[in-house]
């Protein structure tokens, strides 16, 4: 089972500069654990206190995972996952 994961510029230090990596898992949480095994440090940048970080967006087939179950979002072979940090700030 292979799921392609698009990695943003700022996290490519964990993927040896690769823009996309593949992983496996039947939900997002499992996928992130699988990615962590090959790219140590990545998980910490995505998850905080057991939940997705507030300012990291993850999409499965173009859907923001916050609307489809968050870390429990189900995955199947061939799904496309995109990680994008929020573009945000404040005075």
């Amino acid at each position: 089972m292979a799921i392609e994961v698009r990695i943003p510029t700022i996290l490519r230090t964990y993927t040896g500069g690769e823009k996309a990596v593949t992983g496996a898992g039947d939900n997002l949480s499992a996928l992130i654990d699988d990615l962590e095994a090959n790219h140590p440090g990545l998980k910490e940048r995505l998850i905080e206190n057991g939940d997705l970080r507030r300012f990291v967006n993850v999409y499965v087939n173009d859907e923001d995972v916050r609307f489809i179950g968050g870390l429990e979002a189900e995955l199947t072979d061939g799904d496309q996952v995109v990680v994008l940090p929020a573009v945000a700030g404040g005075c």
């Binding site: 923001d64 994008l84 929020a86 573009v87 700030g89 404040g90 005075c91």
Partner: protein, 143 residues
């Protein structure tokens, strides 16, 4: 140094003035690795706030997919401060996630929606370190 053409500079300032007192935000995309801010893209501030800005998550994905298709990257990430100086706040620094981008800050605190000069400043923000840079406004980017 940030080199920006006058029309793009004016478009960023106009957006900031129009959205005042809320923060305005957007990007200027350019070919990957070129450092040329060529394509001005206004974004909606999903926070709709005078003290915070955030791109809507769906629009953010659309924007990045478009850039990937065109082999572009965000050359400028801009937003406005409407009551404070044009300097990155602690939140701005903490959330800055494009190490290759010029972070442009415009302050509309002086003239709000009206005509008049604004502060327009540019920074690099890498791993929490802010470095201000010179801004060169040119009639048009060199071919």
């Amino acid at each position: 140094m940030l080199t920006i053409d006058q029309a793009t500079y004016d478009a960023i300032v106009a957006h900031a003035k129009r959205d005042h007192p809320d923060e305005a935000c957007g990007i200027v995309a350019g070919p990957e690795g070129s450092d040329r801010p060529e394509r001005f893209i206004e974004m909606v501030n999903a926070a709709g706030s005078p003290t915070f800005y955030e791109f809507d998550s769906t629009e953010l994905l659309e924007l990045y997919k478009q850039m990937w298709d065109r082999d572009e990257e965000p050359v400028i990430v801009y937003h406005s401060h409407t009551a404070t100086e044009a300097y990155p706040s602690r939140t701005d620094i903490g959330l800055a996630s494009e190490p290759n981008a010029h972070y442009v800050l415009v302050s509309t605190r002086e003239h709000g929606n009206n005509d008049g000069p604004v502060e327009f400043r540019s920074y690099r923000i890498v791993e929490g370190v802010v470095t201000e840079e010179e801004v060169a406004v040119v009639p048009g980017l060199a071919a």
